[in-house]
């Protein structure tokens, strides 16, 4: 293991810088931070899925010990705070705009999901705030809730402005060409699929701590955010909390996000507003029950999928009709997840010439649904890879062979799909081949026979997935409805002594950027890895940023650092040329040395850095200092792809499914730190297996969340999972300077389809939905 440390550059499995604080208890998460004089917030939350808010009687709780104030949505509305916006606007197929329902941070007239906040209690202790919140008497007029997705469009309208509860009816692809493909098909395979609702469950619950300085009028807000600059922009430009230059957001150590901490939520908005209003620092930390009730959930699709094939098993057309649950309001990215992050991926790894998808985005009286690890792409992969597997079974073709017949060939890139994307590069066969070797595909029949002899059922399932990451070319994204650009910013600040402080707009909440980004800059500038420090997550220190989601950090944020580092080198060459009395064009830079070509004259990086700040012998027309910024806007998405194979064994007596082997061979392009990349894949696979076997966010008919704790929502534990066999193949991304594609979501994208293909293979039926709990499996085995 020590061998891994000998090199710290790109490609080395460098141990992580950030681990020292995390393993010793010196991480600083939001709830670890306290301000002198702080008080504690506990929210008033709706017990009903849909109700009118009547009188809120706070007279008794206001008299309780330690209670400072009780503020409601009506107070917030009176202060003129605006609604929480959706950052992506989607158009319906008829050209009309989606219908966005107003989403006040605190409800003032009506609540629309259980747990929706309509007020906040501020008290000296958390316990006092809790006790007072219990004592608030609110007169609710309960209304019938719309909970069932399938019938939501025929139910009463939740929001006055949204008839049939339909936010949009979006389409992509050529409907006529797809219809024609089906008319010419030798085979049509049809499947109804449910993509189960999941709850993200970062282990650190969301939290916020706000202070307001009355003299400067500046608000400082510590918050559990994946993108503090974007949150600041929204809180100032849309919510109107405070001008941008009077608002500092700090996302310190953040304990996992998985998408759920991208969004701007009511709670941090309220805490910041309340801190100014009562002139006290205000702290809030969610308990896990609040996380279940109020973190944006994920997935929750119903789909009808049809695949048309010719007599040889060539795909001719794919038709997909999906109903996507958006919850009670549109969360920040909600509109884009079941549309542009979903429909565009339905070509998968295949040459399917005609594809048409329609997505109906629907409001229900449930917590908003938004991006969770993979965000649209696991849903697309589930659709494509389940129908391909079922087609292979129905046509009697080996599932590997059917995929091979239809895969885009390595010499066909760049490849224009019928659903808007241009894949820049890839080699899907290479990942597939290596995965087949790893799982020992040839040995499967013998393993299955051995299981059967022992009274067990064994199955093998594939998922050859593709994803679009590295979001995104700004102009393209804005033309499709994005409300902001999708570049990333970076700054490489060389200190006078030659050490380097790197500022990035990406945010690390487990991904290890302090290590990976230091590797990139250290490698580029030839300075020691330990001399590079990475700063992120503070709008007061980092110029701007769009944050971390969609596996974009290295591809976009890392590329920005490369561009900034190259500017440092370019300026360093001018300084070195002056000092060495040479032509700047004759200066080479390599391994931290500026040298005059074809000479023995050179200066170290540190000498040039020092000269930049102590400009004694220095070019007259050059500014002192050695610090460079870059905003990197990608030319295209990146397209990680790979093959995941799950092998399961089912005990028919108990219905328990054991994942006995899981192979993932992914093409992430170039790999900066293979140790970190493997870890990202492991975690993603665990979440995908969790979705396939265990996890399900369930509301009852009245809209009460009945999976609201770890007693009821089944998180994967160590003994639910196998060791994972992960490997990579490499086709470098063609359009960013690192050749990287992104690795954060692949595990969660490929694994649900692979596991469900394996389970349906073992059971011999397609009639099972995620999660394939032991009860469902047991009933099928019994023939119920």
């Amino acid at each position: 293991m020590n061998d891994r440390n000998t090199d710290t550059g790109i490609g080395a499995a460098v141990l992580r810088k950030e681990d020292r604080r995390f393993i010793t208890g010196f991480g600083r998460y939001t709830d670890d931070i306290n301000e002198v004089g702080q008080c504690h917030a506990v929210f008033l939350r709706s017990p009903y899925a849909r109700a009118d808010i009547g009188e809120i009687d706070v007279s008794a709780p206001l008299e309780m010990d330690g209670v400072i104030a009780i503020l409601t949505g009506r107070d917030m509305a009176a202060d003129g705070l605006g609604d929480l916006p959706c950052g992506w606007s989607v158009k319906s197929k008829d050209g009309s705009d989606m219908i966005s329902a107003p989403h006040p941070p605190l409800a003032s007239e009506r609540v629309n999901y259980v747990g929706e906040p309509y007020g906040v209690v501020l008290a000296e202790t958390r316990q006092a705030a809790r006790d007072a919140a219990e004592a608030v008497a609110t007169d609710f007029g309960e209304l019938e809730a719309v909970v069932v997705l399938k019938t939501a469009t025929s139910s009463e309208a939740i929001h006055e402005a949204v008839p049939q509860n339909r936010c949009y009816l979006w389409e992509l692809g050529d409907e006529q060409a797809t219809d024609a493909a089906f008319q010419n098909a030798a085979h049509v395979v049809t499947l109804e699929l449910t993509n189960n609702r999941i709850i993200p469950n970062a282990i650190e619950p969301r939290a916020a701590l706000a202070t307001h300085n009355p003299a400067s009028d500046e608000i400082t807000l510590y918050t559990t955010s994946q993108n503090p600059h974007l949150a600041r922009l929204i809180l100032s430009a849309f919510v109107g909390l405070s001008p941008e230059h009077k608002l500092r957001l700090i996302a310190p150590d953040v304990g996992g996000g998985f998408g759920s901490k991208i969004f701007v939520y009511p709670e941090e908005t309220t805490v910041a507003w309340a801190a100014r209003r009562i002139a006290r620092p205000v702290k809030w930390a969610a308990d896990r029950s609040e996380s279940f009730l109020t973190d944006a959930h994920g997935r929750d699709h119903l789909s009808r999928v049809e695949l048309a094939l010719d007599a040889d098993g060539q795909f001719l057309g794919l038709r997909v009709r999906t109903t996507a649950n958006l919850g009670a309001y549109l969360s920040l990215f909600a509109a884009s997840v079941p549309t542009y992050l979903y429909g565009t991926l339905l070509a998968g790894q295949y040459r399917t010439p005609a594809i048409h998808v329609e997505v109906e985005g629907v409001y229900t009286n449930t917590v908003p649904v938004d991006a969770v690890r993979g965000a649209g792409r696991p849903e697309a992969t589930y659709v494509v890879e389940r129908i391909v597997e079922v087609a292979a079974r129905q046509l009697g073709i080996d599932p590997v062979e059917l995929r091979r017949r239809n895969m885009i060939q390595p010499d066909q890139f760049p490849y224009q799909t019928p659903v808007a994307l241009v894949y820049d590069t890839g080699n899907y066969q290479a990942s597939l081949d290596r995965a087949l070797d790893a799982i020992d595909y040839g040995g499967f029949p013998a393993r299955r026979a051995a299981s059967e002899a022992a009274g067990k059922k064994r199955g093998l399932g594939f998922a050859c997935y593709i994803e679009a990451c590295g979001l995104a070319p700004s102009q393209l994204a804005i033309s499709l409805g994005a409300g902001v650009g999708l570049y990333e910013s970076g700054e490489v600040r060389v200190n006078p002594t030659g050490s380097v402080t790197v500022f990035t707009g990406s945010h690390s909440h487990g991904q290890g950027h302090e290590t990976t980004f230091a590797q990139i800059v250290s490698d580029r500038l030839g300075v020691p890895f330990d001399d590079v420090e990475v700063v992120h997550g503070d709008t007061g220190r980092v110029e701007f940023g769009l944050g971390t989601y969609g596996s974009r950090s290295v591809a976009v944020g890392g590329s920005a650092l490369v561009v900034a580092a190259d500017k440092v080198i370019a300026k360093g060459k001018l300084i070195a040329a002056h000092m060495l009395k040479a032509d700047p064009a004759a200066i080479d830079f390599e391994s931290g040395e500026f040298s005059v070509r074809d000479s023995n004259q050179s200066l170290s990086f540190g000498e040039v850095a020092f000269a930049a700040y102590v400009p004694a012998d220095y070019p007259e027309d050059l500014e002192p200092g050695l610090s460079e910024k870059a905003f990197y806007d990608p030319e295209n998405f990146t397209f990680p792809a790979g093959t995941h194979i799950a092998e399961v064994e089912i005990d028919p007596q108990t219905g328990v499914t054991e994942v006995v082997a899981f192979v993932a061979v992914d093409d992430f392009g170039e790999v900066i730190n293979p140790m970190i990349v493997e870890g990202q894949v492991h975690g993603g696979i665990a979440q995908g297996i969790g979705q396939a076997l265990l996890e399900h966010g369930v509301y009852d008919d009245q809209g009460q969340l009945i999976t609201g704790s770890y007693m009821d929502y089944c998180m994967p534990r160590a003994d639910d999972l196998p060791d994972f066999d992960v490997d990579t193949t490499i086709t470098p991304c063609t359009h960013n300077p690192l050749g990287v594609k992104g690795c954060g979501e692949a595990g969660a994208i490929g694994s649900p389809a692979a596991v469900m293909n394996a389970i349906t293979d073992a059971l011999g039926t397609e009639e099972i939905t995620m999660p394939a709990t032991s009860e469902k499996v047991w009933r099928i085995c019994r023939g119920d």
């Binding site: 992580r16 208890g25 282990i203 534990r717 994972f724």
Partner: protein, 152 residues
């Protein structure tokens, strides 16, 4: 009510409410914020500390229950310059990502090894059933615990 106990070798006498949880005393009163709170049903294990050398979930222990007791938290098992073998193994095996479950996971893992129940992968997986990690998929945590068990 007054309670006396020792935390990481330092004796404390504190006035606590009868319903005060041990984890709140550790985090809020003593400032030992390495111990985390990840749930409210004693499931996630992020708050795991050692009481008399055995792993307990400090969210499920009242401060008054540990009167006279000896407690060790993540801050008390090693230092940045002199890591406990389990801390070292977690770093070497990349057994953590966001770090939030890590202190509890390390405290549980040490207890598991000291009880002699970390002999193989299966027993480690079973033994960590009370600690939830959302980042790592447990693969590297299991490797780290087996690795540390060789060194402890």
């Amino acid at each position: 009510m007054n309670v006396e106990f020792t935390v990481n070798g330092t004796a404390h006498t504190l006035d606590v409410e009868p319903n005060t949880l041990l984890v709140d005393v550790l985090r809020s009163t003593l400032g030992l914020t390495g111990t985390h709170v990840g749930c409210d049903t004693s499931q996630c294990g992020a708050c795991t500390v050692h009481l008399e050398g055995r792993a307990v979930k400090s969210c499920a222990v009242l401060a008054c229950q540990v009167d006279g007791g000896t407690i060790t938290t993540i801050e008390g098992i090693g230092t940045v310059d002199d890591l406990h073998p389990m801390q070292e193994a977690f770093r070497e095996c990349h057994a953590l990502q966001c770090g939030f479950c890590t202190p509890g996971m390390i405290m549980s893992a040490i207890d598991l090894v000291e009880r002699g129940e970390a002999g193989d992968e299966g027993s480690v997986r079973a033994g960590l059933e009370g600690n939830i990690c959302r980042c790592t998929g447990y693969h590297n945590i299991v490797r780290a615990v087996l690795h540390a068990a060789q060194r402890m």
